[in-house]
């Protein structure tokens, strides 16, 4: 992979001056991933969401690559169309046969786990040469922090409220990364904005494969997490260290725990409270009376960790 020195000389393909919040994890994810795209030209697409509305306010654009926003649920289908155009125009002789272009689609967890899942599954199955990136901040943040199927169990959200009858979201998260891995695409990985080296090298691998690749990236949302905007990277790091968000990759069907997570086998994972504590969306979980729910949350994380270690041949 490229060294830090090399990366520091690459052009930033998402320009500053956009309207994302201070401490937003999405722009960090985009910049790290586009660095991983190398120096080939790239075309990016983005689902409706914070990232899209905040970076493309007409007549401005923060994107230094050709960009398309279509709608909420179809970032994958849209970029698959762009990639198909590239193939068709090559066959027509209108684009040189040796021309290389990278195609990347972005979406939040709402646009990926929920409304865009069918479009994503279709694009992965068809084998387009594209990278799909989900920036997972665990809720519909753009519309005001509504729960998604990526929202962690127990979390407060405006459609999974905390009250006498219910303590936040009642259901477990959907394991989207495994779902996409089950498509048998050449490269699937989970990364975090807190581990830039790991994420950038995963992006490089994703862009290098011939065919579809999928990256699921933990991206802090200080507004939705009810957390300090100047601690976003630290909070994402706690997600990795507690095992809430293990870092791993599936390369040609081979599951592999990435080193920051692999180190936890020996060093041990931090208790989930450490991830929850700095986030206001979990405040109720740590209050008396919710011990059982909290232990359920920990048990779910332990079970997923076990599952992952098995798949990665670490058990």
């Amino acid at each position: 992979m490229a060294t830090l020195r090399e990366l520091s000389h690459r052009e930033d393909r998402l320009e500053g001056g956009h309207r994302l919040c201070a401490g937003c994890g999405a722009s960090i994810a985009v910049r790290q991933i586009l660095l991983g795209a190398g120096t080939d030209p790239a075309i990016a697409g983005c689902a409706t969401g914070c990232l899209e509305v905040s970076t493309t306010i007409y007549p401005y654009s923060s994107w230094k690559v050709p960009f398309i926003h279509n709608a909420f649920e179809n970032s994958a289908a849209t970029i698959s169309g762009v990639e198909a155009a590239f193939k068709g125009l090559k066959r027509a002789g209108k684009i040189p046969a040796d021309k290389k272009v990278k195609f990347v689609a972005f979406g939040g967890d709402g646009g990926t786990y929920d409304i865009g899942l069918q479009s994503l599954s279709g694009a992965m199955e068809r084998g387009h040469d594209m990278v799909y990136v989900c920036y997972d901040n665990g809720a519909y943040m753009n519309t005001g922090i509504q729960r998604s199927s990526a929202t962690p169990k127990g979390a407060w959200a405006t459609t999974s409220e905390v009250g006498k009858a219910q303590q936040g979201k009642q259901q477990r998260r959907k394991d989207l990364t495994s779902i996409i891995a089950a498509h048998g695409v050449p490269y699937v990985a989970q990364g975090s904005i807190s581990h830039w080296k790991d994420l950038t090298s995963k992006a490089e691998k994703a862009f290098a494969v011939d065919g579809p690749a999928f990256l699921n990236v933990l991206a802090t949302c200080p507004r939705g997490w009810r957390s300090a905007y100047n601690k976003s990277v630290e909070h994402a790091k706690l997600g990795v260290q507690t095992g809430y968000w293990p870092l791993f990759e599936v390369e040609e069907g081979e599951w592999k725990l990435s080193s920051p997570s692999k180190a936890l086998i020996k060093a041990g994972r931090k208790p989930i409270e450490e991830f929850l504590k700095p986030q206001g969306r979990f405040r109720h979980l740590l209050q008396p009376g919710n011990e059982e729910l909290l232990s359920e949350v920990q048990a779910d994380i332990d079970a997923y960790w076990e599952y992952l270690l098995k798949r990665c041949g670490e058990l």
Binding site: V53, I57, I68, N70, A71, N74, G81
Partner: protein
């Protein structure tokens, strides 16, 4: 005039043939009855290596139109086909395709919408898309479906237009019946549609552009919509110009509307699609019986030919508008509303009555058409006009 080959085949088959001859770069499509054989035949061309198009076998119609939008924005010539529920599922994307000014061409096999489920012809699907900003052409026959598909490319891609075009043919009646069709040779079609020169293409990497930007928060959304309105207004002259050019090439006439026996007509029927054939047949019979019957067929529904229709109906005493779609809660079907609107400024407004007919493929028998003309003759001689819509032939 180039030599044309006469074949006996289905509407879908000649639409697929027109697709091949128009040489699209990308065809994203999803199968649905009765559109299926269009995409099947095109997929065969792909397998045979007879086309250069990238065929994207998407997992839904929503993704079909989403991929069309991506591919067209990338700079490709893009064609697709759908029907009924598929068109309904695309609804969100139909607006985005026109709003982004993408010259996508789509064939629609006109079919009823659920519920209850029904696979047969009516115009509920396309009429539901009439305000999505697409140019809409309707075919009466397989020949017209073929011709309209070819003409759609230069209409959509005209720099004065840059809008998507929908070419509509009646499900089963036109899509699946064997009809006599005269086909152009590949070279003539190729020369007629020309080479696509995209503007603001994503794949023009030296000139990066952003598509689909946010234009709210006091942004120019309103002004974008006005420019879209101006574009579809301009498309009317382009539909006529392209029609005239294709007439020269093919020997077949193409206007915004087609009039038959209208010069001295006292009673007339306004209709869209395959039923025009039934109406023409009955009107001819009635002419032989001394009834001054006539027919106006709408070929271009969007932009709607208001002035042309009003001129065609000038002097007529009673008009029946046949709608193969409902507009529940409105005064009548969509074509009726347009026709009434077209006549509002006319010097002598004829009586206009509305018939909803043939929903879900309900049979359009000749005696039903005859009964419409009988009603019109009664109205023309003083019987008060019916308050519609009348459900023609409903049991």
């Amino acid at each position: 005039m180039p030599e044309q080959k006469t074949v006996a085949t289905t509407g879908n088959s000649v639409v697929a043939e027109a697709f091949r001859q128009c040489a699209p770069d990308v065809v994203p499509a999803y199968p649905i009855t009765p559109q299926t054989t269009i995409v099947e035949e095109f997929a065969k061309f792909v397998a045979q290596g007879r086309v250069h198009a990238e065929y994207v076998a998407v997992e839904s119609e929503h993704s079909a139109m989403s991929a069309c939008v991506g591919a067209s924005a990338a700079g490709a010539r893009v064609m697709t086909a759908t029907s009924s529920q598929g068109l309904a599922l695309m609804w969100e994307e139909l607006h985005i395709a026109s709003g982004m000014r993408l010259p996508i061409v789509m064939a629609n096999a006109n079919r009823a919408l659920s519920a209850p489920i029904n696979i047969h012809c009516d115009h509920s699907d396309v009429m539901g898309a009439r305000d999505t900003g697409w140019v809409m052409l309707f075919a009466e026959t397989a020949q017209e479906a073929y011709d309209n598909t070819i003409m759609s490319i230069p209409i959509a891609e005209d720099p004065e237009v840059l809008l998507p075009v929908m070419t509509c043919l009646d499900g089963f009646i036109t899509t699946h019946s064997i009809d006599r069709v005269r086909l152009m040779d590949d070279e003539s079609v190729s020369a007629f549609v020309g080479e696509y020169k995209p503007v603001n293409a994503l794949l023009d990497l030296d000139n990066p552009v952003s598509h689909g930007n946010f234009a709210g928060l006091g942004g120019p959304y309103f002004e974008f919509k006005r420019s879209q309105r101006e574009a579809i207004d301009r498309s009317k002259a382009v539909v006529e110009r392209v029609g005239a050019a294709f007439s020269e090439l093919s020997g077949r006439p193409f206007g915004l509307i087609e009039t038959d026996m209208m010069d001295d007509a006292e009673v007339a029927v306004v209709v869209i699609g395959s039923t025009a054939g039934n109406v023409r047949h009955v009107a001819k019979q009635l002419r032989a019986e001394g009834v001054k019957a006539g027919l106006v067929k709408i070929r271009c529904f969007r932009p709607f030919p208001y002035a042309e229709l009003a001129a065609a109906l000038a002097g007529v005493k009673a008009v029946a508008v046949l709608d193969r779609a409902e507009s529940f809660g409105a005064e009548g079907g969509p074509l009726y509303l347009e026709t009434r609107s077209a006549l509002y400024d006319a010097e002598h407004r004829p009586a206009v009555v509305n018939y909803v007919y043939g929903l879900g493929g309900s049979d359009v028998k000749l005696e039903l058409i005859r009964s419409v003309f009988t009603d019109l003759s009664d109205i023309a001689t003083g019987t008060p006009a019916l308050h519609g819509p009348v459900y023609l032939g409903a049991r």
